[in-house]
Amino acid sequence: MKCSRLLRLVILSCAMVASALLAACHKDVQQPWQLTDISGHMPDLAFRLTDDHGRTVTAADYRGKVTLLYFGYTHCPDVCPLTLAHLHVVMQKLGKLADNVRILFVSVDPTRDTPAILHDYVNAFDPRAVGLTGTPADIEALTKRYRAAFTREPGKADGSYDVSHSSGIYIFDVNGKARLLATPADGQDRLVHDLQLLLNSGGAS
């Protein structure tokens, strides 16, 4: 009887220790991120495109900055501006830290989006936004690299057309490693939280 009680106690304490260990273990594994962690699931930032000053730039030019990669086009009056305005507020909330962040707005409509138009467009949102364009092949290669997609919709009577495109915001650390994926629906505070963490950690994986 006494033995059985002791055994029960032992089992109980084992269970408690085990659950405590599991909890501790779980705590270690728990991600600090509020956005989707894509570390190791997406390739490093790599491209060769033309920026909104007409200069040829590569991903290496943005090493040392946390970058937010977003695909869009300037003739997109609703969702692209909403996303960029959203990111502008995030940048404002980051304060001084935002100097180490660049928004990379890659045009999926290189036919119409010249560097000059892109320059006016991105600067209407944030001084730390960069417009990037390139050959259709270069743009397509970059979207495929991040499993993003875009489709030019049938033209309208006046010759204009819309482009459907992926709406994700890919976040890379200062070493150009893919770290997080945000959607336009993610609140500004989640973006601010994760960007602060990424900027303060020095970008180390």
């Binding site: 969702v79 909403l82 960029l84 000059a116 919709e153």
Partner: protein
């Protein structure tokens, strides 16, 4: 007895139609009307909240403005895999005693080819056209590109 009940029902169901001597536009009020301005004469978008006080649906079918050569009713949609797309809409119903909201990432007026330079802080008049041929002039406030949604 049942027949009389049916007759009463039929008569009352006609009442809202009788009320419609006033046009759809007469029963619609607009609020929070604003335009997100984009640079370089790029297409802009107009947003507005429409409240319908009538006992029947009002249908917004088009809009026009002396400021923009083209005003089209559009809807943005988020498809599978996070694909964002935009398409023209032939009409937008404002339910009886309800409202319809034109807001970012949803219904909006796509505004193209402005006749003169529009700048933040300006107001632009856009007339909303309803299915019964009635019209509602609305004054939109022009906000800068990076304005947060005020609603």
């Amino acid at each position: 007895m049942k027949m009389r009940y049916l007759l009463v029902m039929a008569a009352t169901s006609l009442l809202p139609v009788a009320n419609l001597q006033a046009s759809q536009a007469d029963h619609v009020t607009a609020s929070n009307a604003w335009i997100r301005l984009l640079p370089a004469n790029l297409p802009a978008s107009g947003y507005v909240t429409l409240q319908n006080t009538a006992l029947s649906t009002a249908s917004l079918v088009s809009a026009h403005s002396t400021t923009y050569a083209s005003v089209m009713l559009h809807k943005s949609a988020m498809g599978s895999g996070g694909m964002s797309s935009m398409h023209a809409v032939s009409q937008l119903a404002i339910p009886a005693q309800g409202k319809a909201v034109l807001a970012p990432a949803g219904y909006h007026l796509m505004l193209e080819r402005s006749s003169h330079a529009v700048k933040a802080g300006d107001t632009v008049d856009i007339t909303l056209d309803f299915a019964d041929g009635s019209h509602l002039p609305v004054t939109f406030l022009v906000r800068p590109a990076n304005a947060a949604d005020p609603n």
